[in-house]
Every structure is written in C-alpha cells, then in structure tokens.
C-alpha cells in the first residue's frame, strides 16, 4: 500500500502524496521538533521538507529508500530553517528559592540538564542522536540517511553522548557543592 502510494506520487498523483504526507507528518514533525527545539522552525522545516519531497520525488530511484530519503531531506530542511532565521538563542539557569529533596526532584533536575545539554549541541549532533535514539536507526543507517560516512556518524554520536553525560555530571557536582554549604 505504502509502496503503491509512493509510486503514484512519483508519477505526479497529488492525492497519493497527500496520503503519504498524512501518514508521516506526525513523525516528521516530532523529529524536526527534537532536532530544532523550536515549534515554529519545526513546522516550517516539515512543510519545506514535504514540498521538496514532492518536487524531487521523480528523482528517487528506489522506492524502498523513500523513508531514509525523507529523513535526509528533513534534516537538510531543518538546517536551512535554522540558518535562514536568526533565532533567539539562550542559555538558561535554574534556581530555586525553596530547598528541594527527593528522587523525583533529582529526576526533574536530570531532565532539565539533559534538555540544556541537548540544546548546547549543534544541529549535526542533535540529528544523529535523534535519528538513532528516537527514530531507532542504526548508526550506519543514520549515516546513510544523512549522506555522511559511517565513521562521521559514529564520531558525532559519541561526541554528543559524551556532552550530554557531562551536562548531567556537572549538575550532580553542582548539587553536591550546594549541599556542602553551611
């Protein structure tokens, strides 16, 4: 069914492409949102990516490669949107006026640090992490989707994960330091 839709869309069937887009748009939107960390940029990137898919679909030789091809176009569109619009980039610190205790607080703090660490990563690194950990592609498949060598994908992945781990570790050290204050 999906195969058939792709082939029909390749032949210029707009309805078929509309059905394909309807099937994929939630997932593509989530991927773009995770990579870009901005809802408006993500929406623009998804729309631009799907338009590019439609226009370039006749070029696609192997219908089976459609999904990876779409990821590549989406990530490319995300890059373009990120660069096209100079957006507000912030660094964030979180302070509390009440002492916090408990594992739940620790978990929330971890997630905050994870978010902060993720936002510090470049789009190249975010894309690899999202495609691997959210989409579920293997690192060679990530490399194929992004049209980069497998070694580069692995290098980006390990750098990104190291940076995220460092962000969490730094928060733990800060908590220990704060706790040691008289």
């Amino acid at each position: 069914m999906r195969h058939d839709l792709i082939e029909r869309a390749q032949r210029g069937d707009r309805d078929a492409f509309g059905q394909l887009a309807a099937q994929d748009i939630d997932h593509l939107h989530a991927v773009a949102r995770l990579i870009l960390r901005d809802p408006h940029l993500a929406e623009d990137a998804v729309q631009e990516a799907l338009i590019r898919c439609w226009r370039q679909l006749p070029r696609l030789r192997a219908v089976d490669a459609y999904d990876g091809w779409v990821y590549r176009i989406l990530v490319r569109a995300a890059y373009d949107e990120s660069q096209r619009r100079r957006r507000f980039a912030s660094h964030l610190r979180t302070v509390s006026i009440e002492p916090q205790v408990g594992d739940e607080t620790r978990l929330v703090a971890d997630r905050d640090e994870l978010a902060r660490g993720f936002e510090q990563l470049s789009l190249d690194h975010r894309a690899v992490v999202v495609l691997h950990h959210y989409v579920g592609l293997s690192l060679p498949a990530v490399a194929q989707a992004l049209a980069i060598p497998t070694g580069t994908a692995k290098s980006r992945y390990f750098y990104a994960m190291g940076a995220l781990r460092a962000a969490l570790d730094a928060d733990v050290r800060l908590a220990i330091t704060d706790g040691a204050r008289p």
Partner: protein
C-alpha cells in the same frame, strides 16, 4: 537506568505526539500549486523545468513592497499626524478575541479619537496572543502567544513569550521568542524599568480532584534581553511580580505549593529576588500578600493581604517600608473581586486600589458583591503613608446619564505614564478617567478582552515614544 536509555526516554517524552492539523492542510495546499521536477531521460537529470517559485515570490514581494511603500507615503502625507486629544497621553495596547467559540485573542493599539489597529495576529488564525506590555521606552512590545484557546480552562499548546520591535508606524515585528512549554498559558511579561529584563510567571492548568481545573504558576522566568539568558526561579507559584525601580530586584508574591493561587489558599508571601546573584530574601510579616506594587522611589512596597484571622475573606492594604522592614496598614476590612491590587502612580504620591462592599460587612456576598469602589490614596505631609495622614478619594461608580449609564467597575486599573489619567479595564470596556474623579470619562474600546485573572498580568499597556514625534497611526490600519 543507563545513560543511553535515559536519552531515549527523554526524547520520546519530549517529542510532540501530533503535528498541528493546519500543518498538513498547509502542506497539501502548497504541494497543489507546485510542479514536480521531471526527469528528462534516464541517467541525467534536468534542472527543474518549472520557473523558480522562490524567484517568483521574490519578484512579487519586491513589487508588493514597492507598492506598499508608495501607498504608505501617500497615506502618511494625507493623514492627520497630531493626536486629537492628549487625555490618553499615548497609546494603549489591549487584547481582543475573535468570535466564539475560539476565543483566540489578537493584540491591538488604540488611542483616543483613533480607531483601534490590530498589530499582532490576524482574523482566523489559531494563535492566541495576549497580555501586551509596552517597554518603558515604548519601542518594544512583549506579549504572550500560544496555539489554541484557553476556553474551558484546558490550556493552550506551545506557549511562548514574544518580544517585538515596534516601528514608528506601529508595526510589530517579532525579534525574540522564548518558548515556555507545551501546556502553558500565554505568558504575561513585565518589563524592568530599565528595559533590560522581562519577567513572567508560567501558568499551567492543573486538574485536581479537590479544585477541578484551575490555573496556577510553577516558575518565574527572568529574561535578560541583551543576550537572551534566562533565569528560571523554580517552585514560586507567583500571584504577582513587581520590579524594583532600578531593575536590580524582582519582588515575587509567592506561594509554597500548588495551592499558592489565592483563589484556593492564600499561602503567599513576598520575596525579593536579586538579579545579579540569584539570592532571595523573604520580606518578614508579608504572609498572605497577593498583589504588590513597588513605589517609584524604591523605598516601599504596597501590597494587599487577607486580614489575619479573618474568616470572611476580608482584605487590607499594607505599606511595607523596606528600610527596617516595618509596615503599617492603610486600609482594612474590605473585600475584593478580581483584585486590581494596589498600583502606584508614576509620580509616587498616589496609590490606587479597589474594594467591594465596604459598608456592609455582614453581607459579604450578593447583592452588594458587584459594587466596586476604586480608591485613590494620596500621601500625607512629608511623604507619610500612615492611615491617619493620607487622603482618600473614592472614584465615581458610573458614567453617563439615564439609560446610558455605565458602571465603572474595573478588573484592572493602570496609570498613564505621566500619572494624569487612569485606564479602567471593565468588562471589556476600556475607560479613561481622571484620578481626581472629576472631568470627562472617555471610552477607548468597548469590545476588548478583560485582562483579569489569577495570574500576574502586566499593567504596562500604556505607552508612548520618548521622542514624542512618532505617531503610531501614520501607517494605514
């Protein structure tokens, strides 16, 4: 939990489950007018045969911009550039919803004698823009934005604070956006007097068995505009925010739990949060404080609180002297409805607050519940704010004669920048009145949204350009 698993879980939690419906619709519409790139022969690919849509769009945009520029020049030449009346002393930003059932707001500017102009949002969009606040120099506008409606108290999606530059023609161009989360209301920001920071409380709809759907706040965000740095003050449950006149500290009327919202349990108190070192200080004796106002000279904070020990929701107006942390009660034993709180005049010699049913404490509910007194308190000799020294003026409760009588019962009261006028936000009607209670009452708008509610609401809706020359109405509406 392994680090890799933590990242995977976090990404799946962060990912929005669905794309906005309008995104698919817009994409399908866009695809419908775009040709595909054709492959001319196998093994070689053509350049796209369709003319470049970007080039077409650019050409049209250039032509359109040129025409608009010509029209704008012609219009500006032919329009009266002088305001018709100086009563409003500038322009007022307000929110107006589109038609039901969406209740999705857009932001307008108005001044007396001129029709209101929409400057943010457009008819038919699904974006709710609220809480306009003009920067101290009148050149920027902060407002909250979210997708969807808060109708029914179910909250919005994708809320963000937007800082827009206002050009002399009154056009708002978004320059900065601060996303605050998926289920938050549009943030209501307050500018620091030096214009270097904005602060806002993030409000969320809470579904609890005890209270049903209500709205509370869980953090105060402080944004430094110079570089976009954000300080998030956790677990504050703020009911009101107020900047020190020098912009160095933020006063936070703050609760200690989800019940910090006054409508549930008044557990709030005032903390002063230092911007530079993130240290906070609790103002002693301020338990129960909800609505606060910092005097222009920085020496005092006026606030409203529940009368200690009162079981009938009585309120009192308290003056806290920051030098020595002493305080005294200016007025007591009244009730509030929406609670406009105290608001200090820019000149520092007057304070306005609202009270209800002051003459019938035995009947705290209907029929006198809807009587709203707006009270202006003027300092006594030597800048004394003791109850025995101040002068109290009760403002008129109605406007007009006969069948056209309109009640002057505001949800919110704002001083004009020069302190010569008051703006009443009353059931969607914006009135301009003199703080003396005498003279003309003007109606600016009759179909605005009342910017009331339990969360912090900006009062910086009244602005003017410092140069005085820029007329926000020079461009066609």
């Amino acid at each position: 939990m392994t680090h890799e698993r933590m990242v995977t879980d976090w990404l799946h939690d962060e990912a929005p489950p669905r794309a906005p419906e309008r995104l698919l619709e817009a994409t399908v519409r866009a695809v419908a007018v775009r040709p595909q790139e054709r492959v001319l022969w196998r093994g070689r690919r053509s350049r796209t045969q369709a003319p470049s849509t970007r080039a077409q769009a650019l050409t049209l945009a250039v032509i359109g911009a040129g025409l608009l520029g010509v029209l704008a020049v012609l219009a500006s030449v032919s329009r009266d550039r002088e305001p018709t009346n100086d009563v409003t002393n500038g322009w007022v930003a307000f929110t107006k919803s589109q038609e039901d059932p969406d209740l999705v707001g857009d932001i307008y500017l108005v001044r007396e004698g001129r029709p209101a102009r929409r400057i943010v949002g457009w008819q038919g969009d699904e974006v709710d823009e609220r809480c306009p606040a003009l920067s101290p120099d009148g050149a920027r506008l902060a407002y909250g934005r979210a997708v969807g409606s808060d109708y029914g108290g179910r909250g919005h999606t994708g809320a963000a604070l937007v800082i827009a530059d206002l050009d002399p023609a009154g056009n708002a161009v978004a320059a900065m956006e601060v996303e605050v989360g998926g289920d938050a209301r549009p943030p209501c920001a307050i500018w620091a007097p030096d214009g270097r920071h904005v602060a806002f409380a993030v409000g969320r709809s809470i579904d609890s068995i005890e209270h049903g759907f209500t709205t509370t706040t869980d953090a105060v965000w402080i944004v430094r505009l110079e570089d976009g740095a954000i300080t998030r003050v956790q677990d504050t449950f703020a009911t009101d925010l107020e900047w020190a006149p020098d912009g160095s500290r933020l006063a936070i009327a703050s609760g200690t739990s989800l019940q910090g919202h006054r409508a549930i349990v008044p557990t709030t108190e005032i903390r002063l949060f230092a911007i530079t070192n993130a240290e906070s200080r609790l103002l002693p004796g301020t338990w129960g404080a909800n609505w606060i106002s910092w005097s222009p000279d920085g020496r005092r904070i006026a606030y409203e609180r529940d009368v200690p020990g009162s079981e009938v929701d009585e309120r009192e107006l308290v003056m806290h002297e920051l030098d020595g942390d002493t305080e005294h009660v200016i007025a007591t034993g009244y009730h509030t409805n929406q609670g406009i709180g105290p608001a200090w005049s820019p000149t520092g010699d007057r304070l306005v607050y609202q009270r209800i049913c002051t003459t019938n404490l035995e009947m705290p509910t209907m029929p006198c519940r809807e009587e709203h007194d707006v009270v202006v308190v003027t300092s006594g000799p030597g800048d004394s704010w003791r109850a025995e020294d101040v002068t109290v003026s009760v403002m008129p409760q109605s406007h007009g004669l006969g069948a056209s009588v309109r009640p002057l019962w505001p949800f919110r009261v704002t001083w004009s920048p020069d302190g010569q006028s008051l703006l009443y936000d009353a059931f969607g009607t914006l009135f301009v009145v003199r703080p003396s209670g005498e003279g003309p009452v003007s109606i600016l708008v009759e179909d605005a949204d009342p910017e009331a509610g339990g969360l912090t609401v900006p009062i910086q809706v009244w602005g003017r350009r410092p140069d005085g020359a820029a007329d926000m109405w020079s461009a066609p509406p």
